[in-house]
């Protein structure tokens, strides 16, 4: 009798884990896939729908995606603890907190924000506490406990609130509009993320990861595994409470069955984010990216009009992308052989620069520079169909001239990149593993460049590239 899935079972995973252990916690090659996917999807989305890059576009995206991200956090916190804890009951739990909150509010109990927050997090934590106690003392496989919880909670949800309805507490009435970026929902998300990041600095988190990767080793080295497991589940429960608040803000009412759908999506998002369902590996960065990726898939597909088969195409894409990204994780040991020190942050920043450029290109109002683009009606040809999504407007000679003038600017950017690579190599030669300075240089250059462009753009329109 051993743990459900021990990482030692496959040669590939074993070597990957050994490598990670050699390099310390900073380098997490499993983030490679979600970051790539995220930026690929983001650039397609921006090219297809430039309106995504407006305050209301981003605000709406945040409102929709936050419950999903928090649900993924919920799953992540308990999954790290190992024993194959995949909490299938996360969806019904969110639904349960939602419907009980709505019913209590209808009964006139929960009015103010503080009791609502306390109530939601307390219910989530209490459920996860019972979950942890059952796993620890009854010693049934966690997946069976969660299956049991899934069935029981999704049944009782329908009993408490037979059909969608009810009103959310008035203070969250305006949260779900999503008209601006800085909504309370974003604050909740940021606070939850920061809380987890602070938590990762504690010894408790190290214990948790040790227990998740090898419970026997943790036990023999004196980690209080009972307390660690309970702690992980309590954190998970608090995330569930927050997820449920954001979910309630999104739909502004109670829904007994909608929350249940979060189970499968959250599991998918967790895995897409590079976490290991066997335990010991996972983080907020990957989980948030995984959830964002799922949202982006739906968003990108909805920008292509598939008509009546829209939802089927979305399903197909979900499944296919999930399986393909899992298959691509098999390549990670191969990649690692060539790139010793993969830094997710640098990768994120460098891809971010590229996609930022694409976003600027897609949303920049070229028509303000020259004449209105000539729309050429006529039969559709293959060339136009392929290039059209990439071109927003036809460029006038004036704009082309401006582009020619921008050459020094581009040169400057390339110079900066070369400088960064040079610095990186210098640090590598000095046998230092930190990439901090190089990243800092790139970020600083970006900020300076952006500020300069904005400044020039405001003062003298049309002459942005003059040096």
């Amino acid at each position: 009798m051993s743990l459900p899935v021990t990482p030692q079972e496959t040669p590939g995973a074993e070597s990957a884990i050994v490598k990670v252990a050699e390099q310390g916690g900073r380098s997490n090659p499993f983030l490679l896939m979600p970051i790539t996917l995220f930026f690929a999807l983001l650039s397609i989305a921006v090219l297809r729908t430039p309106s995504l890059m407006t305050p209301s576009g981003i605000g709406a995206a945040i409102i929709v995606v936050t419950p999903l991200i928090l649900a993924t956090y919920t799953l992540m916190a308990s999954t790290i603890s190992g024993r194959g804890t995949v909490d299938l009951s996360v969806g019904p739990l969110i639904g349960f907190i939602n419907v009980t909150m709505i019913q209590l509010h209808a009964g006139g109990v929960l009015e103010n924000p503080i009791p609502v927050f306390l109530y939601c997090m307390a219910v989530g934590a209490a459920y996860q506490f019972i979950f942890a106690l059952i796993v620890i003392f009854v010693r049934v496989q966690p997946i069976i406990v969660s299956l049991s919880g899934y069935l029981a909670l999704s049944g009782i949800n329908l009993v408490i609130l037979p059909r969608p309805g009810g009103v959310a507490p008035p203070f969250m009435a305006e949260w779900g509009y999503g008209t601006s970026i800085f909504s309370p929902v974003l604050v909740i998300l940021v606070l939850a993320t920061v809380a987890w990041l602070l938590f990762t600095a504690t010894a408790f988190y190290t214990h948790l990861r040790l227990m998740g990767s090898d419970e026997r080793a943790a036990y023999t080295s004196g980690v209080p595994i009972t307390i660690v497991r309970i702690g992980a589940h309590l954190i998970s429960g608090c995330f569930a409470g927050l997820a449920s608040i954001c979910f309630t803000a999104l739909i502004s009412s109670g829904d007994p069955s909608q929350g249940t759908t979060y189970t499968l999506i959250a599991v998918t998002a967790l895995v897409l984010g590079g976490a290991s369902l066997a335990g010991g590996r996972g983080g907020v960065f990957g989980s948030a990216l995984g959830a964002l990726n799922l949202y982006m898939i739906t968003f990108v597909l909805s920008s292509f009009n598939f008509g009546s088969v829209q939802s089927f195409v979305t399903n197909l894409a979900y499944g296919a992308i999930l399986v393909i990204s899992l298959l691509l994780t098999l390549l990670i040991p191969v990649i690692q052989r060539h790139i010793r020190n993969f830094s997710p942050l640098l990768y994120f920043v460098s891809l971010g620069v590229v996609v930022f450029g694409i976003a600027l290109h897609a949303t920049f109002d070229y028509t303000s520079l020259g004449e209105a683009p000539a729309y050429l009606p006529g039969p559709m040809d293959m060339q136009a169909a392929l290039t059209k999504p990439l071109e927003i407007a036809t460029l006038t000679p004036q704009t082309l001239a401006l582009k020619a003038q921008a050459v020094p600017f581009v040169f400057f950017t390339i110079l900066l990149a070369v400088l960064a690579v040079f610095l990186r190599l210098a640090f590598a030669q000095a046998n230092r593993r930190s990439l901090g300075p190089a990243v800092a240089v790139v970020v600083a250059a970006l900020v300076l460049g952006g500020a300069w462009v904005m400044h020039e753009g405001v003062s003298v329109p049309g002459t942005e590239a003059v040096r």
Partner: protein, 453 residues
């Protein structure tokens, strides 16, 4: 099994005679009171079997326990220490019953008292006898629960033990049973297959779509089964390559299959996702309530399920393939050392899973008469529940299809019982959820971490 108490031959014969007498007495009373024939026969068989069992094990225990030496605390205190928790549990159950009968008028009638006694008897029997079984404890507990539920149900609910109700229970049980075959086989390897409900839905819609296109029904069935098997092979290859990720891989392929099938079926159709067509009469006959098997009045799907179950149970126990499957589930390293191809078994088991899921989809089409992609949705967790309630370990290597059959029957009888006492779907789901945990906890507890080092 060597710890089993033995009793002498005369005692056994005495027990058998007693059992036959009791059964005959019961049957006689039943006929005198003019009850339905099925009830009388079933209760007679139940009486016979239970008496023989009880005689064999309970008497045997008493024979063996004469050698207890009383030292230390007094015998009474010893007994209290030993049976503390069961006694507290019994007291709680009795208190709950008293409370219910005091608060609800008309609750205190003879049938409820009988039900309580049966419930208590099952609890006591599982506590005392369950530990005699080293290997098949879950099966024993499952059968006890099944017998208890059935007897309580037939006492309390009008028409519960009627031929029609038994037929319908068996019909639904055979759908769930056939769908659970794959889950069981895959669980024996230590994997999971969450794509089963999606393949069921896909096969359900796809079969009707093909028939609607004018493909001969037999050919369409073969094509659908073949495609299901191919999806299973893909699942097997992927989950073998991505060890430990079977849950999420099969979920992903499931999404993809369900989406893909719907896209294919809605091309050129004005009704997105809805497929129309005529189900051939032979297919409808196979799984409809009023179907006939060689002139006998029960749907052939029950016979099909029984045959498959028999083949699987015998095959897993006796054939070399079955034994290799268990060997792989228990310890894959040692299994591959003795030249068992791991990958072949993963692929074959997932292929079988896909095949039987597609078969279930086809059979459900015959039952409902219309294609619906979501027809398999409830099987996502029900197949898992049937496997774990039956007692097959999700870690692999322990269990078998016989256990799953018991699990399926328990779930089905429980669901009929809950419907019978007037609870609707949501309450059923709630009670299912609450019952799975204690049932699994009775036999599938893993050892404490300190014993694993």
């Amino acid at each position: 099994m060597e710890k089993l108490p033995q009793i002498g031959l005369p005692a056994r014969i005495l027990g058998l005679v007693l059992a036959i007498l009791l059964a005959g007495l019961g049957a006689g009373f039943g006929f005198v009171q003019g009850m339905a024939v099925q009830v009388v026969i079933l209760s007679a068989i139940a009486t016979l079997a239970l008496t023989v069992w009880a005689w064999r094990y309970v008497i045997g225990q008493f024979v063996e326990t004469e050698t207890i030496v009383a030292d230390g605390p007094s015998p009474l205190r010893q007994a209290w220490m030993q049976y503390r928790w069961p006694l507290i549990g019994l007291a709680l159950v009795l208190a709950a019953f008293l409370l219910l009968s005091l608060s609800i008028p008309g609750f205190f009638n003879i049938w409820n008292v009988l039900s309580l006694i049966i419930l208590l008897a099952i609890l006591v029997l599982t506590r005392t006898l369950g530990r005699q079984f080293q290997q098949n404890r879950s099966a024993f507990i499952g059968i006890m629960v099944l017998a208890g539920l059935f007897s309580v149900g037939s006492m309390n609910i009008e028409g519960f033990a009627s031929g029609n109700n038994i037929k319908s229970m068996l019909l639904f049980a055979s759908f769930l049973g056939i769908a659970s075959i794959g889950q069981t086989l895959v669980a024996l390897l230590g994997g999971l297959d969450l794509s089963i409900p999606f393949i069921i839905g896909g096969a359900n819609v796809g079969l009707l779509y093909l028939i609607g296109l004018g493909v001969p029904p037999w050919l369409a069935t073969i094509i659908v089964l073949l495609i299901g098997t191919i999806f299973g092979v893909i699942n097997g290859l992927l989950s073998y390559r991505l060890q430990g990720q079977a849950l999420i891989v099969t979920l992903g392929t499931g999404f993809a299959i369900s989406g893909g099938v719907q896209i294919v079926t809605s091309i050129g159709s004005a009704y997105s996702g809805n497929v129309f067509g005529t189900v051939p009469p032979w297919l409808a006959n196979i799984s409809a309530m009023n179907g006939t098997t060689f002139g006998l009045p029960f749907p052939p799907v029950i016979l099909v399920w029984a045959l498959i179950a028999l083949i699987l149970i015998v095959g897993l126990r006796t054939t070399v393939y079955g034994r290799y499957l268990y060997a792989l589930g228990v310890n894959r390293t040692s299994a591959s050392r003795v030249m068992i191809s791991e990958m072949r078994y993963w692929v074959i088991m997932y292929a079988l899973s896909g095949f039987f899921a597609a078969l279930t989809g086809g059979l459900l089409l015959g039952w409902s008469g219309g294609g619906f992609i979501g027809v398999g949705d409830q099987y996502l967790f029900l197949t898992l529940a049937a496997v774990v309630v039956g007692g097959t370990s999700l870690l692999g290597g322990a269990g078998g299809y016989g256990f799953t059959v018991i699990g399926v029957l328990v779930l089905q009888v429980l669901s009929s019982f809950l419907v019978g006492i007037g609870l609707d779907f949501k309450w059923q789901q709630f009670i299912f959820g609450l019952l799975i945990l204690p049932m699994v906890a009775l036999y599938a507890r893993s050892p404490h971490i300190r014993t694993q080092i």
